[in-house]
């Protein structure tokens, strides 16, 4: 809400010693937050003066234009007192008119510097200004012609045009709709600023009594429209200009002046907070009827949009059909125009919820709708309509029709019962009941009772409905800045949960392993999933769709962290970081067939069954760990060559996390997108699949702009966290000598090393302390299609030194099992 300061002080007196900064600081502390103080003339510097046009010579030009060579009296403002010669392209003025002249040395908005310059065969020493050139709206039709009594030539024009005005912009909280008006802001000044006094309520005026001579109005839905007031002006001159003070104030408020009739309705809305609608009365056919629309009825609103209505929309109709969306936007057929001479003024009170729903349904945001949906004083319809007809006839001529239509009565304000000490108990401040009552009365409430107060809010405060609402009023007027600072004493807490601690451990482990954490958006689209090469039936293709995604390219909640991580890695490579290793631990969204989430009551705790239904309606959202690496795992340097990342780095990234959680993961060959079909490991915890890791499919690398042989992993951290070992037992070590046995086994290339190792481990028996594969060899010596796996076995007994031959016997037993299971042959 933007308003000139002078408009506020029209309704309330502020002591001279209170500066604008003090005033706005005080209002900020009581709830009207200052957004900024602007001055429309701030961008204009240098001489900007009143000029009287002495002569004007039209001079046709070769380009078809006619310019006027003018001499303008600017008195001594030009330093000489001689008339100023100025070329002007506009024609809407005549000798003798007062105009706005910017002299050489002046600067207009946009940094436009004025100097004497040669043009059209003359030296033009300055410029005669239009409103647009001064930044006062976008009217380019002609220059500003000042009223004949506006001032004397040579005078500074700024005060005349309101260019020096301080325009204050407030941020209005949605519960304070009353402050979307000068009436409300002035009242806030009155209650907030020390010494402010003399509030003059613009909605307090004597209005003529209702009679039956006004335009007939029938309200069929008094709940939706409790009050409808109609007044008519006849003989109105539609060509009458809007007076400057109205145009300037509307402009300051951010509304564009349009025509006197429209501007007056907007002006009264800003003044009182009550939205007004004006109809071309000659376009009305028969009585006005207010009702709910029938589903499917249509209306073209005055923004030119044809709308299909819902049976919840409140509409204004006449014999021709629907002529307006009540309280939200008028219709085209009865819109006021440049030929309207009879104006019907509607000031109606509408149900706020209906206004909100209609606005949202039709995606209409308007100044009227904003006020109507937040709650307007229902008692000022007659006053507002009366103010409109007064201004229309004052500035547009014509007569006020004696007919006064008033249908309905304003709804009663509720009474709130609240303990007199509630504000004290809630704030922690020492607020007496007397102080609380005083504050409530200051904001307009009627208060009765002691100990327990009966509070009736004023009609402009429909936001006050509960004891907590009146409590806030009291505390904000006493002052939020007086609330003391007291640290509450929490009972001894449990600290971070084990899962929270482990998640931190995972992050630190990954960082320690050389991976950089990134945070990505969880939105995904088909092209991402296509780029991963997911087959049509891959469950990751089933995403939870958003109704209103930011981008139609990514309308779903992602089921995998990989697309975003791959894109991120590609972006880094593109930026010249050729070795990238990143990870993210974040939830993914896995839809499942569900019932809708119920909308539960709010006047009681839901039952456990109801809460269970809420939980069951949500998709699975397991925490995933995604890893992508490309380039070198170890850098090349003076020490020698680097080492390119390989599938094994991706597997190991998961393994280090598993070790940090005390888990033993096993690998199995897998063929799963987006990985290379021969270089992908499924990672298992016992029989439970936790995810995959390996080298990416070459097509996937290409799709994400990554070099070939980039690697990735993705695992379900929730599964891993669930199995994380909590209390690990202390290990015991044997101090007897170790016996080492190496064994090289030749197997088919297709045999998994993990299977050979498992067989060896089983066959070696209880004396086996550890086993480690230390070499893989393929080549002529082992033959085509074969590979040799070299294992180092360590044997040790817990309680004695092994006897000669014991370890070799265990080794042989191990080899026998490996031979049986995997066809291994010892080299």
């Amino acid at each position: 809400m933007k308003t000139p300061l002078s408009w506020i002080t029209e309704y309330v007196d502020v002591p001279d010693h209170v500066s604008t900064d003090e005033l706005t600081a005080r209002l900020t502390l009581t709830g009207l937050k200052l957004e900024g103080i602007h001055s429309p003339g701030a961008a204009i510097t240098g001489p900007l003066v009143v000029g009287r046009v002495l002569t004007m010579e039209p001079e046709p030009q070769k380009n078809g234009k006619t310019i006027n060579w003018c001499t303008v009296d600017v008195a001594d403002a030009n330093g000489t007192g001689e008339p100023q010669g100025i070329v002007c392209g506009a024609h809407n003025f005549a000798p003798g008119d007062l105009v706005v002249v910017v002299l050489p040395g002046g600067v207009l908005p946009g940094g436009f510097e004025i100097s004497a310059r040669k043009t059209y065969g003359h030296v033009s020493s300055g410029m005669i200004c239009s409103a647009a050139e001064l930044g006062l709206g976008d009217d380019h039709d002609g220059i500003i012609v000042l009223p004949a009594d506006a001032g004397k030539p040579g005078e500074d024009v700024r005060p005349l045009l309101g260019l020096d005005e301080e325009i204050i912009e407030f941020e209005i909280n949605p519960d304070r709709a009353y402050a979307l008006s000068l009436r409300g802001i002035a009242r806030e000044v009155l209650v907030s600023v020390d010494g402010a006094s003399g509030f003059r309520d613009p909605a307090l005026r004597d209005t003529p009594a209702a009679n039956d001579q006004g335009h007939p109005v029938v309200v069929e839905d008094p709940t939706g429209c409790p009050v409808f007031v109609a007044r008519t002006v006849t003989g109105f001159d539609p060509t009458s200009p809007t007076p400057d003070f109205i145009a300037q104030r509307l402009t300051a408020a951010g509304m564009r002046p349009i025509s006197l009739a429209v501007d007056v309705t907007n002006y009264v809305m800003l003044e009182t907070g009550r939205p007004i609608h004006g109809y071309d009365a000659d376009a009305l056919q028969g009585p006005i009827v207010v009702r709910r629309a029938r589903a499917g009825e249509r209306l073209t609103t005055l923004d030119g949009t044809a709308r299909t209505l819902s049976d919840e929309d409140l509409v204004v109709t006449d014999d021709s059909g629907i002529i307006g969306l009540g309280g939200v936007m008028g219709g085209e057929s009865t819109e006021m125009s440049a030929t309207t001479t009879r104006v019907l003024v509607e000031a109606a009170h509408w149900d706020a919820t209906s206004m909100f729903r209609t606005g949202r349904r039709h995606k209409i945001t308007s100044e009227a709708g904003k006020r109507n949906e937040r709650g307007v004083d229902a008692t000022i319809c007659e006053a507002a309509a009366d103010r409109v007809v007064e201004l229309l006839t004052t500035y547009g001529g014509g007569q006020v029709d004696p007919g006064v239509t008033v249908v309905g009565t304003p709804p009663q304000m509720p009474t709130i019962t609240v303990a007199g000490d509630r504000a004290a108990r809630v704030s922690g401040l020492d607020i007496s009941e007397e102080r609380a009552v005083e504050a409530l009365r200051a904001v307009g409430c009627e208060v009765t009772g002691t100990g327990t107060l009966e509070v009736t809010p004023p009609p402009w405060r429909p936001d006050l409905t509960d004891p907590q609402d009146t409590t806030e009023e009291v505390i904000r007027l006493v002052g939020y800045d007086t609330i003391p600072s007291v640290l509450p004493k929490a009972p001894g807490g449990r600290g971070l949960t084990r899962t929270q601690l482990l998640r931190r451990r995972i992050g630190r482990t990954m960082a320690g392993a050389g991976y950089v954490e990134v945070v990505t958006f969880p939105f995904v689209g088909d092209h991402d999933l296509d780029a991963l090469g997911l087959p049509a039936d891959d469950p990751r293709r089933t995403t939870l769709r958003l109704s209103n995604p930011l981008s139609s390219e990514a309308p779903g909640m992602t089921t995998t962290l990989l697309p975003a991580l791959l894109r991120t890695a590609g972006k880094n490579v593109g930026l010249g970081t050729t070795s990238v290793a990143i990870f993210e631990a974040a939830p993914v969204t896995l839809p499942r067939a569900t019932e809708p989430a119920p909308i539960l009551p709010v006047d009681r705790r839901p039952t456990d069954a109801e809460l269970d239904a809420l939980t069951k309606a949500l998709p699975d959202q397991p925490l995933h760990l995604g890893v992508v690496a490309t380039g070198e795992a170890e850098a090349a340097g003076w020490w020698g060559d680097g080492r390119a990342v390989s599938w094994s780095d991706a597997v190991d990234a998961v393994q280090v996390v598993a070790e940090a959680l005390g888990l033993d993961l096993t690998s199995r060959p897998a063929d799963t997108a987006p990985w290379h079909p021969g270089r992908c490991a499924a990672l298992l915890l016992g029989d439970v699949l936790v995810g995959h890791a390996g080298e990416l499919h070459p097509r996937v690398c290409a799709a994400f702009g990554l070099p070939p042989r980039s690697v990735a992993a993705e695992v379900d951290l929730d599964v891993m966290l669930e199995h994380a070992v909590h209390l690990r037992p202390s290990p015991t070590f044997s101090s007897y000598p170790v016996a080492k046995e190496d064994v090289a086994l030749v197997v088919d290339e297709t045999v998994a090393a993990a299977d050979v190792e498992a067989a060896l481990r089983e066959g070696a028996g209880p004396l086996l302390e550890s086993i480690r594969l230390f070499d893989v060899y393929t080549g002529e010596q082992v033959g085509e299609g074969k590979k040799s796996l070299a294992f180092a076995l360590r044997f040790r007994a817990p309680d004695r030194t092994l006897k000669e031959g014991e370890s070799s016997a265990a080794r042989d037993a191990a080899v026998r099992v490996a031979a049986e299971r995997t066809g291994a042959v010892q080299r």
Binding site: G493, F521, S547, E634
Partner: protein
């Protein structure tokens, strides 16, 4: 070896002559001194101390002497051998020390060479900031509560006194999921975690809820469709706005420095009433000579978040008796807190994934 020399004939055993022994000793000592490295000392040892060395051979001749001469000769040779061994040992130590010294000099490397063979990892600054904030609350005895990101509409709105027609619902531009009649949203705030906490625990409740939230904001320097919030909730007997102020002052001072406090301005949130905007004192200028301060842009205060006394309607919907208990709640952006704590003017680097950004913060902030 000669047989026993039964006839004393000094001429026959000239090697045992005092002068001879002295000459052998001198020759050996001179050779030892002349050995310039361990290799040549080894040769000297063989020549002058070894089994075939003159002194060793002379020693063997002692048995051939008449008994009355053996003592003198033995003493003489023993002394000579002792002197030679001592010289040898000393030279050995000396040459070893020289050798080591030379070896160490030769092994000198350029220790200014780069050492970054292994990749360096780092954590995301927002994760670190969230953990730092969580730790501040945990130190106060609070607990950290969490909940799902895809959330039931009722928990994100209705339970928090944002009914279906509440104007505030349009303030928070919500991502809705399909089908619309399933009433599932991306949470617009971490407040549903507060509701879940009240629904599943009994007071006293002291929790903080950090997490990611979503709004349909176009992505620019100050808006992101996904960002991070931390909210706090206390429900206990006798809780007042003074406790709220105390908790926020404590968080501010822990996060931004000693003496940094907060101020309240009246505001509106459906889930709290009374409600307040909370500003944190500018930790750069501390409100003194703010005019030139770029962090607070001359205000002396920085808008930080929202807070208030939990609306009794919320307590009722979440199964807490508003007659017995009262509470407060607050929320602020983690990203925003990070931005002004670390002087970041555009939030997009937080979500762009340029590894240079995260790397700059390492693993602690």
């Amino acid at each position: 070896m000669s047989g026993p020399n039964t006839e004393y004939d000094p001429v026959q055993v000239t090697p045992l002559d005092a002068d001879q022994v002295e000459a052998m000793r001198e020759a050996a000592v001179a050779a030892i001194a002349a050995a310039s490295d361990l290799e040549s000392l080894k040769a000297v040892r063989l020549e002058h101390v070894g089994d075939r060395s003159p002194l060793a051979l002379a020693n063997r001749e002692i048995g051939a002497l008449p008994p009355q001469a053996r003592k003198d000769a033995g003493q003489r040779i023993g002394q000579a051998r002792g002197a030679v061994n001592k010289a040898l040992a000393e030279r050995q130590v000396q040459l070893e020390a020289e050798h080591e010294e030379r070896m160490l000099v030769e092994e000198t490397v350029d220790v200014t060479l780069p050492t970054d063979r292994a990749r360096r990892g780092s954590r995301h600054p927002i994760t670190l900031q969230s953990e730092l904030i969580a730790d501040i609350f945990v130190a106060m005895g609070w607990e950290i509560a969490e909940g799902p990101v895809v959330e039931a509409e009722w928990l994100n709105f209705d339970a928090l006194n944002l009914g279906p027609d509440h104007p505030a619902r349009t303030m928070q531009d919500t991502f809705w999921t399909e089908p619309a009649d399933h009433h599932v949203v991306l949470r617009t705030q971490t407040s549903p975690v507060q509701a879940r906490t009240m629904l599943t625990r009994t007071p006293p409740i002291y929790v903080a809820c950090p997490g990611r939230v979503f709004r349909t904001d176009e992505y620019d320097a100050t808006h992101s469709p996904m960002f991070h919030q931390v909210e706090g909730l206390v429900v206990d007997e006798g809780i007042t706005m003074a406790h709220l102020k105390g908790s926020l002052d404590h968080l501010a001072s822990q996060l931004f420095g000693d003496g940094i406090d907060t101020r309240f301005r009246p505001s509106y949130f459906p889930f709290t009433e009374p409600s307040a905007e909370v500003d944190v004192r500018c930790f750069v200028c501390r409100g003194v000579d703010s005019d030139s301060c770029r962090t607070c842009r001359g205000e002396g205060w920085i808008e930080w978040g929202g807070c208030g006394v939990v609306n009794p309607r919320v307590l009722v919907a979440c199964g807490v008796d508003p007659e017995t208990y009262s509470g407060f709640a607050f929320g602020m952006g983690i990203d925003r807190s990070f931005m002004f704590r670390h002087n970041l003017e555009d939030l997009r680097p937080l979500f762009e994934g340029d590894v240079r950004f995260s790397s700059a913060f390492g693993s602690e902030i």
